[in-house]
Subunit: 449 residues, 2 copies
């Protein structure tokens, strides 16, 4: 394959990523979003990409739209979906450098957002820039859609997709992320799990009390614990009635792909410092769980005194944040109703349930020609790649399928142990470069598909 149409150096790849990391953009705190979106627009313009801000509602972070029309092949459009917001940087004390340093150490660039998702975004911008710089054209129409609320559950993604449905119309979507395993093989994910993110809270009294009063005032933390205990068994199985009712078994085709996916149990355990997997899972059970098992995870629990030493206090309230991962056919609205009914029926009607976010799971079919296109590009760029029925994570893929009617595939540069959402998140420079090359090949292959 001829590659003379791309600039293999991808100049500015690393320094642009550093600039992006150094601009914090935390959607959960509504911090730095405007600044970051403007920085990206100017970066895209410098790369020769038309870029503008899109808006749906006052108070909602703008999305960024990018476009390059192809002179040679104006009938086909590939859309890159990314996000410019990042997770909160806490816990601060566990970062070796400042969370937004963009510091380079050897082959790694550190900082919140380095991998998720600013690193991915940069590879895509640089791939398009490479075509424009070398040939003055792109092999097919390119569109970018970069939102600012992914880390808080893409709250307004449907508003955007609905309002700008025409503008964003395309024939295929490259999803915002993609993992690369410990043997440098990109994992091509054809699906995403869904998510139901809720807060359960109990306010018992109008103020904290001296804990000696625990004999007569109910403790809201105990109340939450009593309720939580009814939600799942010790192996993580959700005990809410009909929770799994609509869930399909894996097909034979799914199972054969799952079986062929590598998963290095030893490396994984070492990376996280764990001794065993939940429920003592081993082998294919681990891989099946990652692809297709719903969860009920406590993302946060807060009540009472959390500082050093002793405080004999009876807290007035307690709050727990739960994220339920969902698989295809589990409807977040229906699952939320089941959760509420469960609490009611088990005598916990006094616990307040607040929906933070819900989105359904989605999967692109194995038979879609775009799968082969992406797989070939990845194999060519990395030597080998791995196909995955679904990522263990969540994104608004269901909404994209609903409004854009296009296959969505996740492929990217994020090393599996890149500590995304955690302290010391990093991106590997070698993978960023290889992935930028891979994006060039995807664009080229897709144009010919």
């Amino acid at each position: 394959m001829q590659e003379n149409y791309v600039d293999k150096n991808f100049s500015g790849l690393v320094s642009d990523l550093q600039k992006l990391i150094q601009q914090p953009s935390i959607s959960a705190k509504n911090m730095g979003l405007k600044e970051c979106s403007r920085l990206i627009v100017s970066m895209m313009k410098k790369s020769g990409i038309h870029a503008e801000l899109l808006d749906v509602k006052k108070g909602v972070p703008s999305a960024i739209y990018g476009e390059v029309k192809s002179k040679q092949n104006p009938g086909k459009t590939l859309l890159f979906y990314n996000h410019y917001d990042v997770q909160p940087e806490e816990p601060l004390e566990l970062w070796d450098d400042k969370p937004f340093s963009g510091k380079i150490k050897g082959n790694k660039i550190f900082g919140r957002g380095s991998a998720d998702d600013k690193g991915e975004l940069v590879t895509r911008i640089k791939a398009v820039e490479a075509f424009l710089k070398t040939t003055g054209d792109v092999p097919c129409n390119i569109k970018f859609f970069i939102e600012g609320e992914e880390e808080i559950g893409s709250v307004h993604i449907e508003d955007y997709l609905k309002k700008y449905q025409k503008k964003l119309s395309c024939d295929a979507v490259i999803w915002e992320f993609g993992y690369v395993d410990e043997k440098d093989r990109p994992i091509i994910s054809l699906g995403m799990k869904g998510l139901l993110y809720v807060e359960l809270s109990k306010t018992e009294s109008i103020r904290d009390a001296h804990s000696s009063l625990a004999v007569i005032i109910e403790n809201p933390a105990w109340r939450l614990i009593d309720a939580l205990q009814t939600l799942r068994d010790k192996n993580g199985k959700v005990l809410i009635k009909d929770w799994y009712k609509e869930v399909d078994q894996f097909t034979k085709e799914d199972l054969s792909i799952i079986a062929s996916e590598p998963f290095d149990e030893t490396s994984f355990k070492k990376e996280y410092g764990i001794k065993k997997f939940v429920g003592n899972k081993k082998g294919i059970a681990i891989k099946k769980a990652l692809v297709g098992e719903p969860t009920c995870n406590i993302a946060g629990f807060t009540s009472g005194y959390e500082g050093p030493g002793a405080k004999t206090v009876l807290p007035s309230k307690a709050l727990v944040k739960i994220d339920f991962r969902l698989v295809p056919k589990m409807d977040p609205t229906r699952q939320l109703a089941r959760l509420k009914k469960h609490l009611q029926e088990n005598g916990f009607g006094d616990i307040q349930v607040t929906l933070i976010h819900g989105e359904a799971a989605a999967r692109t079919r194995l038979s879609d020609p775009f799968v082969k296109t992406v797989k070939k590009a990845a194999d060519d760029s990395f030597g080998k790649s791995i196909l995955s029925v679904s990522s263990a994570g969540t994104g608004p893929m269901f909404s994209f399928v609903k409004f854009l009617h296009s296959p969505c595939i996740a492929v990217g540069s994020t090393y599996v142990f890149a500590r995304i959402h955690s302290p010391n998140e990093f991106a590997r420079i070698d993978l960023l470069k290889k992935t930028t090359k891979c994006m060039c090949k995807i664009i080229r292959n897709f144009a010919l598909q």
Copy 2:
């Protein structure tokens, strides 16, 4: 009774208390302790009381010793026990004024420590000052012992009592606090519950992970919840084996006092904004619980993301702070061993148990002549007072009995709804004045006892 030997104005009572509040002294944070102890020493000296700092170990906050020898009656000694440390001021956002403002609004002085325990301390200093100012003498020897670690469980009280046993020797002790009920009747407490304060923690992995990994990495918050669930039933009964083994039933005498103690259920519910009491307790069940029911209270629970919005994180660790209140004959060391055994036997040996503090309960006998002495002084000063077998709270009374062999009685100025340990803690000026008068009467009555 002649009262010409006291200065009824107690000048400086309010302004001295304000000064004390304005000097933060948070033992849990090791903050302002040195400054506060020095301030008190100089205040006591101004009142004519000999005052000095006592020390046991480097790094341990000094205690304050105060003494006035009686010329007329040098054979009898009354000791006032107080503390100059205060609870942490969190949650900050719920204070109407700054936590250490000492602001006066009508009859109230606001601020952390205003009631617990700086208000109490000031009444005692001013009572002694009143005698000295008016008569140049005190009716019996007076000693003060003011520690700086009460709010973190009087960690070194035994070290102090052992080292300074002779210096602190006395015939009776007035305890550091005392409540006044909503009808302005002081509650004279003859005992204190014990306390076992522990942290249970579980660290699962070496870092927080993306919550999609909850299918394979165990969630330490769930692990703690599973363990906590085994500790108690929904009515608060502790399910740890032999937890209540040594606990005595109430005597008939105890029960008659408990029955005669007033408890205004309606006011209490209104004050805390609660609708019912734990386990739907009513009437004497509430009073019996306050005096003699052990508890298992969650004072704090922390894990994962506690900020606003959603963060899809799988926490690496979870921690819960529990305070178990104990009643007489429950030995904290033995109870801790039972807790550890319980966790071990129920498959939770992986959960780390850290002892923060343990102290046994103590009660002064009803038949002790000091009871009558205090009761008479309180009745005379307030019109009426109430006897209580034991406070619901905890203090190192057991250690005092062990080393000083003296009866200990709690009587003071703290309005029952003074929000001690909570935001907007306050002291009532009228009660401070009445209590100072009461302290004068106790000193006088005790000298004649």
